[in-house]
């Protein structure tokens, strides 16, 4: 076998473990593998917000962690902080805060953001120090590797890797196309 048989596809289906926005029964699921310190993911963040508005309830958006730890020294803890916030019911609030404050991701800031969001910040601090959510982040990362993630951000539309431009219009067009199928 000298060729890849098919386009790269998600090896870990979207399920209960995932952080998702939008209805479970939406005709289109967009999965992003991203890194909170990655500038390209930072550029994708408002685009995802806009396309969620455009697609409305036809879209479910899922974010999975793919921290590039060698390139981005704060990415791992930022991912764990989002998971820690998720454990207290505020994953998306922290997710947004991290992308909006991409330039300030030291541990002290992560704990401060948890406090700003009304979370038990001391608990988040302890969980970061203990690496409580490191296995969960690693699980996301591994699922990305086996699914063909080839950089950040990598998007999957209904389980198939999307290799074209993720600027707003082409991405909306691809999602609309998938919604029709």
């Amino acid at each position: 076998m000298s060729k890849r048989a098919a386009a790269a596809a998600l090896t870990l289906p979207v399920g209960e473990r995932d952080h998702a926005q939008g209805p479970t029964e939406a005709p289109v699921t967009l999965v992003e593998y991203g890194d909170y310190e990655c500038p390209h993911c930072g550029r994708a963040y408002p685009i995802v917000k806009q396309l969620r508005q455009r697609l409305g309830r036809r879209l479910r958006f899922v974010f999975r962690n793919f921290p590039l730890r060698e390139s981005h020294p704060h990415a791992q803890h930022a991912a764990e902080a989002a998971e820690a916030a998720g454990a207290q019911g505020k994953f998306w609030e922290m997710h947004d805060r991290l992308f909006e404050r991409q330039f300030a991701l030291d541990d002290d800031y992560l704990i401060e953001y948890a406090g700003d969001l009304g979370l038990d910040a001391a608990r988040v601090g302890r969980e970061l120090a203990a690496g409580t959510y490191a296995p969960r982040v690693r699980e996301d990362f591994r699922s990305g590797v086996t699914s063909g993630v080839n950089g950040t951000p990598t998007f999957f539309i209904n389980g198939v890797r999307y290799d074209e431009s993720w600027d707003l219009e082409p991405l909306v067009a691809a999602l609309e196309q998938a919604a029709k199928r």
Binding site: M1, S2, A8, E70, V145, T146, G148, V149, N150
Partner: protein, 167 residues
Amino acid sequence: MATPPQGPGAPLPAGTRAPDFALSSTPGRTVSLADFRGRPVILAFYPADWSPVCGDQMALYNEILPEFERYHAQLLGISVDGVWCHTAFARDRKLHFPLLADFEPKGAVARRYGAYREGDGFSERALFVVDGDGIVRWSYVSPVDVNPGADGILRALEPLAGASAPA
């Protein structure tokens, strides 16, 4: 006159013996394929150091090294760049695996693997997984502008794990 193949070529297929080679990885160190007999080897040919796309692929593999290590596999990056260029590139990107210089005669190893782009003067973005006995078990040529990721590599490594199954 026959024109040499262009674009995605025909890499050595699964089942063929991987040609041995000895290439410099640093000004003082030579690496040969035979050094890794008994373990799987991932050969990642790429066009050039420093081009942003290549950097992405090598940087990605650098992050994925622990996954390759679960299969006791050794990753080797290979391009036609010289050792000084590789050294600077590896230091800049904090790479933790060897980059080999297929520099003189230029592209000789890539040619033997069917992974050289004659008209361009650099290698394809070509992946080979070689088993512990030195046999190619999987090969893949990606469009030169597409980072192939690592899913194919991991799928090829899985059946080689055998007794040393990943933890």
